[in-house]
């Protein structure tokens, strides 16, 4: 009798966790979005490490492409674009490479388990005046197949997702 009662309690608890959990998590996932209809992307910087020019440019171009596709902004401006000066609700994205772990494409092809490349980028979203609105550390990875170029694509996708989750042209209206 006690065993049945005990199992019943455990079952009830598990049911609560299973059904109530996703609802609670969904509530956690929806922070208030910041109003922004356009974004200006600055060239990727690297304070602590010497970043090859091709890597810097690949990160920058992928970032712009992904923000145009998935960022949810009406305009994505490049660094130095004069039109950004007149844009309302503009946020500026500053990205700084903080480190990387160099993998090997050859090892990845052979084993598909080891040889991953990862690149750590600190992203800061500021307003026009430089006031910080949001900061995130993002990691671009290439784990299984592909050249190191894919790590820059992976980072860009994640950054665009962060922008999409935190900024909206209609927020606060």
């Amino acid at each position: 009798m006690t065993r049945i009662l005990g199992r019943g309690i455990v079952f009830s608890l598990l049911s609560i966790i299973l059904f109530a959990g996703p609802g609670l998590r969904a509530q956690d996932k929806q922070p208030a979005k910041i109003k922004a209809s356009s974004i200006s992307v600055t060239m990727i910087q690297s304070d602590e490490i010497k970043l090859p020019a091709e890597f810097q440019v690949s990160l920058y171009e992928n970032l712009i492409q992904q923000l145009q596709k998935k960022g949810g902004f009406q305009h994505v401006y490049r660094e130095g674009d004069r039109n950004a000066a007149n844009a309302a609700d503009l946020v500026v994205l500053h990205s700084t490479v903080r480190g990387f772990k160099e993998g090997s494409e050859r090892v990845r092809q052979l084993t598909t388990v080891v040889g991953a490349t990862s690149i750590n980028v600190h992203c800061e979203f500021t307003d026009k005046n430089g006031k910080s609105l949001l900061e995130r550390d993002l990691k671009g990875k290439v784990i299984f197949f592909g050249a190191n170029l894919r790590a820059t694509y992976d980072f860009a996708k994640k950054a665009a997702q962060v922008a999409h989750d935190n900024f909206s042209p209609t927020a606060g209206t």
Binding site: A53, E61, E79, N120
Partner: protein, 177 residues
């Protein structure tokens, strides 16, 4: 008299052989270089094969009927893969070897058997773009030299130029009061 005949014969010989003399490289338009445009060239999809020529101070990327021109004067930085390696593996690279997170090592975007040319340029609105091309080994340096000669800027001088400036540096210091 004999000397005069020799001169005439020599002049005739020159006249006969002149069509066979090759025109100088400066007059000859540069042959197209086969490249892969990896990313960043406005109006061209990523990873597009094509060819590059330099005509009238412009870099022309051609892919089928698509032709994109980039003025050398709009280029604010032209860097080859070798430039990046020199910068990182050179003196600066040695100093950063002790830094954390593998920061002293060189992270290459592509396999070593390719030459890369990275160009940062401004569009008509002042927006910064970055284009990356890969090509056969040894071709990027020549392209860079030609672009710089037509007004493109570079943050990393070529190896020879760098050597010249390093040898001239003491003189420059001496000139200071």
């Amino acid at each position: 008299m004999v000397l005069g005949i020799e001169r005439v014969l020599f002049a005739v010989l020159l006249l006969v052989l002149s069509p066979f003399i090759l025109p100088s490289n400066a007059q000859q338009p540069a042959a197209p270089i086969k490249v892969d445009q990896i990313t960043g060239l406005a109006g061209v999809k990523n990873k597009t094969k094509g060819s590059i020529t330099i005509e009238n101070g412009n870099l022309r990327f051609a892919h089928g009927k698509t032709k994109v021109d980039l003025a050398a004067t709009s280029m604010q930085d032209v860097v080859t893969g070798n430039d990046s390696q020199r910068l990182i593996h050179g003196t600066l690279g040695m100093l950063t070897m002790i830094a954390p997170y593998g920061s002293g090592r060189f992270l290459s975007l592509f396999r070593a058997k390719l030459d890369t040319l990275t160009i940062k340029y401004r569009d008509a609105d002042g927006g910064l773009h970055g284009a990356i091309f890969t090509m056969g080994v040894g071709k990027a340096e020549a392209l860079k030299k030609e672009l710089v000669a037509h007004g493109a800027h570079t943050s990393i001088p070529t190896q020879k130029d760098a050597d010249k400036t390093s040898t001239k540096a003491p003189d420059a210091k001496e000139q200071k009061p």
